[in-house]
Subunit: 287 residues, 2 copies
């Protein structure tokens, strides 16, 4: 089922790139067909991008319009993405891109409330501040980075699930099977296979030398795209969650010390120290 969680994450990431190109750049369905066809080739190749390109070509029999524009924007779900997020929370493995995808499907279903909220707030979408020739290659790199980070989340979950429940999963073999044929098949799975061939117990794909070399080049574009989405007002929670996962993992220090201090302050939940083993509690000065 982790497969389906990754699928939810990738679909939401693609939907966010669609929204950035449609509302943020004003591109047409014809543009989108062309662009997704380009993305479906080379090292961003994936089945989901292939079908996305074809979707933008499909004409509605009834109206003669592009079918995409008569489909209602309320995403449904059968619960497999939700199950991945819930299981990950039980195992305490962060899969924030998948969580964001589940939340956005849920949010999309509140179409009536969305309509009412949009009337209250300034709902104009800003324009992406870079030209098409600059921004589109960035967006592709952002897609590559966020997709890879989504696989990293899913594989880290599989690794821990395998250890916890003694499944003895072979992660290289799983990448090979997914590569062979399934909804999340993609060129990058070859690189995942190679990563697990080098180290079958890799704690996180972000640590693999080959993958990290690729990510280093491209994650700066994910960083810029997340800024541009926040600027324009296009909701891009899965892209933002992917970046935060990356930035969280590359932070040797995180502000979780404050969370531990708060927990000890209000609930005597104790904390650990940086300079000494053990469990500590402070009788805090209550001011």
């Amino acid at each position: 089922m982790v497969h389906n969680g990754i699928e939810y994450g990738l679909m939401e990431i693609i939907a966010e790139t669609y929204d950035l190109m449609k509302r943020g750049m004003g591109l047409t369905d014809e543009d989108l067909e062309t662009i997704y066809t380009q993305w479906a080739a080379g090292d961003t190749n994936s089945y989901l991008l292939e079908i996305t390109a074809r979707i933008f070509a499909e004409v509605d029999q009834k109206t003669g319009r592009k079918l995409i524009n008569v489909i209602l924007d309320e995403a449904k779900q059968k619960g497999t993405g939700k199950w991945t997020s819930q299981s990950a929370m039980d195992l305490q493995i962060p899969v924030p891109t998948i969580d964001a995808a589940v939340a956005m499907r849920d949010l999309s279903a509140f179409k009536e409330v969305r309509g009412a909220v949009s009337k209250i707030y300034e709902n104009k979408i800003g324009r992406v501040r870079e030209g098409r020739d600059t921004f589109l290659p960035r967006l592709r790199n952002a897609y590559y980075s966020a997709a890879l980070i989504t696989y990293a989340q899913g594989m880290a979950l599989l690794r821990t699930a395998s250890q916890t429940y003694a499944y003895h999963l072979d992660l290289e073999e799983i990448a090979r099977i997914w590569r062979g044929g399934c909804i999340i098949r993609a060129a990058v799975l070859e690189d995942l296979r190679a990563a697990y061939r080098t180290n079958s117990d890799l704690a996180n794909l972000l640590l693999d030398p080959e993958l990290s070399a690729r990510l280093k080049e491209r994650v700066k574009d994910l960083r810029l795209v997340v800024q541009e989405a926040a600027f324009t007002g296009v909701p891009a929670p899965a892209l933002a969650a992917s970046l935060a996962y990356f930035d969280g993992y590359r932070s040797a220090w995180l502000p979780a010390n404050l969370i531990q201090a708060q927990r000890d302050y209000f609930g005597a939940h104790t904390y650990e120290r940086t300079d000494e083993k053990g469990i500590f509690h402070t009788v805090w000065e209550k001011g």
Copy 2:
């Protein structure tokens, strides 16, 4: 337990403002004590900000250093935030700020992996591009906005839980009780009470005229802070998730039509149309 989910969200938002001020602006613990003391007054007042200010004053008995700096940055949890996120997913109510808080606590616990990842990637944190006098008021407004959006998520969850399980909850009364004394007590709960007094069945707090007037003024600063976090590399998933929730709700149209098209393409899961009631399936051109 929704109370605890909101608590997780608010604590993560505060931790992100701490990180932005510490790593993104280079402020000292003394600065932080002063700033959080200011934030704990006026309309951003909350118990969590009050104790945060005091935490930055506490001196470690053993080392004579500020205690905050000897507390290990691995957040623990008793599972109440997780429970809120999991229940919300079952009820299909988006609570993405709370989800992000749970994920970041989980991520923080991987301190060893974080150390290894930080050595591979350029892990320098950029400097916030605005001066202190400009950025600090923005950050306070961003905190106000994200905190209000977190309450909106929690209250929307309570409303649906109440309907689904016939709890007959009085949301105004809940806001009153929380205001009276608990970990998430805050000045803004007075405004929540007023909102539910005006409309006891309000679908989302974003729709309340008084609260939306406040949010309109301040959410632009949340937008700028999210951009600045992405720029500097400070992970701010809860601030970003709050903004995306707002931007999602103010989008009368969302790209979920593409998700429905993909689901129908690869799994014949059907879709709805914008121009006609019913359930539809297309035999897609497979190219």
